[in-house]
Every structure is written in C-alpha cells, then in structure tokens.
C-alpha cells in the first residue's frame, strides 16, 4: 500500500486540534461530534459568526461522509471499520479553523469529484449563489437524503477554495482528502 492512512492521520493531529476521529461515520457519531464542537467553540469565546460557520460546515462535511462513504471489500478495508471516515477539526488561529475529512472512494468517482470541486473553486461568490439556487430548485433529493448541495454550501459559507487530493490505495481505491478553511 503506497498511502499510509495511520501516518496521514498522525500528521493531521499536529497543531491545535479540537477534535479528531477515525472510524465509522454514523448518525449518532455526527450528533456527538456536533455537541462536543459546539461546547468547545463556546469555551473558546469565538464570535457567534465564526461559531455558526464552523458548525454549519461541520454538519455538511459529516453528512457528506455519511451519505457517500462506500462499503469496501475486505482486502481494501484491512483494519478500517465499515463506513470508515476521518475527521479532524483544528484551530489554526483566532477565528480561523480547518476541517479535514477523509474517506475511501472508488477510482470511478475521482473524475466526478474533481470536476465538481474544480468547478466550485472557479466560481465567484455570486456565481456560487446562482449555482446553489439552481441545484436547490431543480435537483431532487436522493433516497438517502443527499442533495448535491453540500460542497457548494461549504464553499459559499467559507468563501475559501476547497483543497483536496486523492491518494492511491490500490488500483481501484483511493483515499479522498478534503481540507476546508473557515476564516
């Protein structure tokens, strides 16, 4: 295996980490994470504006994982739990936060994700607003409840570019890492 998830996770945990997790992404886990982060943000006395943005982005990031994580075949999974995902929330500076998520995707999804994120990153704030409204008004929710709006919403609320990369695990599976900065 060319990409070492444990080594990657160790590196993510440098700096001022508010919360880090690797394992199954379930509905209960999402509730717990949100509760913990909400309390920590209160304690840090950040402005309500930044607290709300961090909370919102966290909800979308976690629910993106929840809706899109694929079950992996045994040989790829190794010691990873089912519905495996990584989440790290860190405080870069006063009122600056970084949310990193990671999950395994099939190689077939790379192009779709790359195209979508590159497109989002190329848009101005007004264009993102139009894109959001168009998807909101024209695309149906999937049976799982996802609406294709999560990444657009994250980009809109943060005003920052989405930073991502794909690390090769096997010929068919890649680790998708997404960094979102809230400032």
């Amino acid at each position: 295996m060319s990409f070492d998830i444990n080594e990657y996770y160790k590196q993510l945990n440098e700096g001022e980490v508010l919360l880090s997790y690797k394992g199954s992404i379930t509905s209960d886990l999402i509730s717990n994470v949100l509760e913990v982060i909400e309390e920590k943000l209160e304690d840090l006395n950040e402005t309500s504006k930044i607290r709300k943005k961090v909370y919102n982005v966290l909800v979308e990031s976690l629910q993106n994982l929840f809706h899109h994580i694929d079950e992996l075949p045994e040989e790829v999974r190794g010691d990873m739990e089912s519905k495996f995902g990584v989440l790290v929330v860190s405080r870069v500076d006063t009122n600056v936060y970084k949310i990193t998520t990671g999950n395994v995707v099939t190689s077939g999804k790379i192009k779709f994700l790359k195209d979508k994120i590159d497109k989002i990153n190329s848009l101005t704030a007004d264009e993102l607003k139009d894109m959001y409204k168009f998807i909101l008004n024209h695309q149906k929710l999937s049976a799982k409840g996802g609406g294709g709006l999560g990444l657009v919403d994250i980009a809109r609320k943060t005003g920052n570019k989405l930073d991502y990369n794909f690390e090769n695990l096997t010929s068919e599976y890649y680790f998708f890492n997404l960094d979102v900065t809230i400032s």
């Binding site: 509730s31 504006k49 909370y55 919102n56 629910q63 409204k133 929710l141 409840g145 609406g147 609320k157």
Partner: protein, 126 residues
C-alpha cells in the same frame, strides 16, 4: 383538521401547524441526515389545508441551523405555500435570523427570489 405539533430535538425543529388560526411555525435546528421523512407530514398537511385555508396564513420560520438536505424540503413546504397564496389565502412568511447571521439572512433571500410569496426578514436582536 388536526394540527401538527412536534417537539424539537438536537437535529429537528419544533413544528406547530394550526389550521384554526392559519399560523404555522418551524423553529430550532433542522439538520437530520435524511430530512424527507421529517418534512413529508408537513407537505401533506398543507395539501389538506389548501382545501379550506384561512383568509390569511402566517408562517414563522426561525431556524438557528439548517442543513442542505433540509433546504430542499423547506423549499417543498414553501412551494405548497405558494400554491395556497395563489388560491384563497394571503400567505406571509416571516423569516427570522439572529443579529450578525448574514448566512441565515441570505438563505431567506434565496427562498424569497425563488418563491412567489411575500417574505418579511426579521432580525432578532439580543
């Protein structure tokens, strides 16, 4: 017609829909993983209400957080209100947002630009 009364949870809002007063309220957080289940009773209820709506219908939306899954369901609720507004009832949507919460104000304005129903943006000052 029976009212809808749902208590809020950490992930779902408090909901009160009352056909005798024509006042509807959605308040709190709306961040469930799958919002379709949660909002379907409201959409169905509005279909029923449309048949015998009050002269005036007031909808108070006061959300602290809502996720993108909910945003589509809220639009579905608003589309029903648009139809009711075209029919026999004058509808007003009061969209509440907390002071400094520009994202929530903007979200209200997004809906206002899509739905042909009068909106009133109301800032909650602490």
């Amino acid at each position: 017609m029976e009212p809808i009364i749902i208590d809020g949870t950490a992930k779902t809002p408090t909901v009160k829909f009352d056909s005798t007063t024509g006042v509807m309220e959605i308040k709190g957080r709306s961040i469930p993983e799958n919002s379709i289940e949660f909002y379907k009773p409201m959409v169905d209820w509005l279909d029923e209400y449309a048949k015998s709506s009050k002269d005036q219908t007031v909808v108070n939306v006061q959300l602290e957080y809502f996720n993108t899954s909910s945003s589509k369901c809220i639009l579905d609720v608003f589309k029903k209100l648009e139809a009711i507004n075209k029919g026999g009832s004058k509808v007003l949507i009061n969209w509440y947002y907390e002071e400094d919460d520009e994202d929530m104000l903007e979200a209200g304005e997004d809906y206002e630009s899509i739905i042909r129903v009068p909106f009133k943006m109301i800032e909650i000052v602490e």
